[in-house]
Amino acid sequence: MSGHDWLLFLHVLSAFALVAALVLYTVLIAVVWNKDVPTDVARLFRISKIGDVLIAVGSIGVLVFGIWLAIEDDRYKVWDGWVIAALVLWLVMGALGSRTGKIYNAARDRARSLVREGNNSPNAELRALVQDRRGLWFHTSGVIVVLLLLIDMIFKPGA
């Protein structure tokens, strides 16, 4: 296997990690949507830990190995239109992911604090936090941006 093959494998592996995290978060948002019992919400949010690792490793990996590939491969340049489009989409994805994370981390932290306080009855405030429409919109927008990134990577418009 050449160095280029390894770079391509690591770039695509990072992309898979990124999408795997988005699938995990989507499933999590769907299953906590109708929950308002603090222990239920806190328990389900435990699976988000692996998502946090995958999104960090995946988003940094696609960027680093992607730029490296563009420099290493004579067919592409970092200033190609489709590469610049990918970089812009990556920045938008990061901004949306940060907003989504803040909203759902607040729900997770509230659930944990209620559990610590010994309050495990259904909680309207917690339900409002897990059903925050802004969180859903930010997450959905993030998923759409990642889909656009995938389309850009495969179709390479202008290449």
Partner: protein, 155 residues
Amino acid sequence: MLAAIRPDSWNYALFVHVLGAMILVGALVTAGTAQVLSWRPGGDAGAYARLAFRTLLFVGVPAWFVMRIGAEWIYSKEKWADVPNEPDWLGVGYITADLGGILLLVSVVLAGFGARRLARADGGSSILARSAGVIALVVLALYLVALWAMTAKPG
């Protein structure tokens, strides 16, 4: 930079194949994580087992079909059937995809029965749910091998 520049008509098939594979890996990671969490003592094994079962059934299985249909589509576009000796990476892809599909189905069935048993037992652990988790993680490992074969294309 998923692969070299191809005709646009091939790219639709590749997009379907890659998107299906990515969602399938995400479903396996989610279900595997939930199953591993269900093994921890003191946790609610039933809730995690249900989450793993539903993820495999409603996300993993449809994604497998999308990945597999995309694979056949691009296979026909690239006219591999006309090539006398197919490259090794294609064989690795076929074996892992189909074997993984069978194991995925086994995992769904075991996860379903395991979740049901845990719900009835009201706690504790289930060997069925545990087996489903192990199989889901084996399928995940198989697909990582397939990913390596598809990108590095040995042979």
